[in-house]
Symmetry: C2
Subunit: 340 residues, 2 copies
């Protein structure tokens, strides 16, 4: 059998699994941001008609999967695998969505790297012939993340300027070898990188070295370089982390000054929306990809995309036990249809 | 390409990935149980030389991976993927182990179903030609689980008779297409099943219907029946859950009275060790498989094994919000070498 792994950490997909449909649901604040026109649903109320924020987040995942399937008239019972994860303890959002969806379920935890973690595994299932349809989905919610990782919202704590704003949103992407759509050609699976940062309010700085490690490995494994991509976009480094990542790449001789951005930078108008260092959360790269970037690929405005979702794998327990923040990033190469 | 999925939820591995090495580390209490002679390491102190139970649990995963590799003189840098998860919020044990191991890391959450979730994905990576070596690992720790999910240990709360005892232990299994060992021939990926039980002290009863759903689907997808297996063993239903599962199977016309057991029943001497309804935790099926069952397969005492790890996907938040307990089970068929 052909070995589909190249270099140290990269998979080359010979069958180029296609992303045949996506859906993005966001909260009210995200719906006021610069990408508003690209989202499928903008909630008027971040409780989404249920009685807790956690259940609302779960409902967002569930509805985004259903809507992505509905767009292409696919019965969700035809989907072979549901790869999903979120930030909540024991993946409450994904699990309760899986209970309703009844698709065979693989629960993942990669913090905000979950989108590319789930896309990579879904692509493997399709590329390897293990099924016809796989859906990758993830979510986050400002109010569930704040109260789980930081403080009760009722406290009204002041947020430091390095802090990021957890995106309220969910995204789902359906992969198949049948049908049309942008295709996944590579996945670079990340290692856990920890540069010793222990400030849970400065996660961009903590995650930047992990993003850089994965990007450098991706280029070294594939022989590609920044000029092979129209856009290299990280998950949610935010303004501070993105600048650190660019600097670290430049030190390694990789110049991305013209084609590098970050989903956490793109999603909000940070001055007007008071979101400090940018957006974050699993939902951040999920809605920016499933909403905005997927359309750019479909319309051939982007032909080659390197999507690098980044996760800070801290827990309240690990921080209280004096541990620094381990981080990870997984990268996925996505090509437009004309470029398949 | 050949479609490797059969029936509704089952993967048939054409390349039959081999489990070439395993390792099981357990705590002192597990080391006093009936399977004591089969574990590689029995800790004298469940802090394992570090200063918190969470770090001890993480160290158990890390050491079990290293020891499994060392047994076959494999450099851990040759391992392509580390599939791991645990019960702790944000997978503290697995993540911090991944930070030290530096193997490309896929974090999973399936509660106590994590062993068969990670074995299934590791088998896919090897079967599909995505790498040479993959390691599947998981852990649990009585003291970390109690204080996260129930009460501070210092309270000395009385435990109801339906409650199970979280196993302190970690197991790791290395898969490859090279080398010798028992092989994985099928994986049946579970759906989330919820029969409405909301008592976090009766998880065996909550999980039994998920185990039964996956076992029935496995037989229906593969055309196999109980007589094709020397042993069908669930993850950690415990005494109460195992009896419920047997009854539910019998109602469906499946008689497993002669070859059915449960890792949570096998690991402790429940009368002498005061463990009430049995063992539980991700580490339960991990150490029973990586310690005891793997040896039985190697020695050809078991030729055909159906391992069905079962997970109760509750969180403290979901229980406090009045939700019942969603459960899942993934099944893996493992054949002895003589039977490959």
């Amino acid at each position: 059998m052909l070995n589909k792994k190249i270099g140290k950490q990269t998979i080359k997909f010979l069958e180029a699994p296609k992303i045949i449909s996506t859906n993005a649901i966001v909260g009210p604040k995200e719906g006021e941001g610069p990408l508003r026109e690209h989202f499928d649903v903008i909630l008027e109320d971040d409780l989404f008609g249920v009685d807790t924020w956690e259940k609302a987040e779960s409902r967002m995942i569930e509805e985004s999967v259903k809507a992505a399937a509905k767009k292409i008239k696919l019965d969700i019972r035809e989907i072979d695998y549901f790869f999903a994860g979120d930030l909540l303890n024991q993946l409450m959002s994904s699990t309760f969505a899986a209970r309703h969806l009844q698709i065979p379920y693989i629960g993942l935890f990669g913090a905000c790297s979950t989108l590319t973690e789930s896309l990579s595994l879904a692509a493997i299932m399709i590329d390897g012939g293990y099924g016809d349809y796989a859906v990758a989905a993830t979510s986050s919610h400002f109010s569930t993340a704040e109260r789980q990782f930081r403080f009760p919202l009722e406290l009204g704590n002041q947020r430091p300027l390095t802090s990021q704003w957890t995106v309220t949103g969910a995204g789902a992407a359906i992969l198949s070898s049948k049908g049309k759509g942008p295709s996944i050609s590579y996945a670079t699976i990340g290692r856990v990188i920890d540069f010793g940062i222990s400030d849970a309010n400065n996660m961009g700085a903590a995650m930047a070295p992990a993003a850089v490690d994965t990007i450098l490995t991706h280029f070294s494994d594939t022989g590609l370089s920044p000029k092979d991509y129209d856009l290299i976009i990280t998950g949610d480094l935010g303004i501070i982390g993105m600048d650190i990542a660019k600097d670290l790449l430049l030190k390694e001789g990789i110049d991305v000054s013209n084609n590098f951005s970050d989903c956490g930078v793109e999603i909000f108008d940070h001055k007007k929306q008071d979101t400090h260092a940018g957006g974050s959360g699993c939902g951040c790269s999920a809605v920016v990809f499933c909403g905005y970037l997927y359309k750019q690929l479909k319309e051939d405005k982007i032909k080659n995309l390197l999507l690098v979702s980044t996760g800070a794998l801290l827990s309240s327990t690990s921080i209280h036990q004096g541990e620094s923040i381990p981080c990870i990033a997984h990268a996925v190469t996505i090509k437009s249809e004309s470029n398949n």
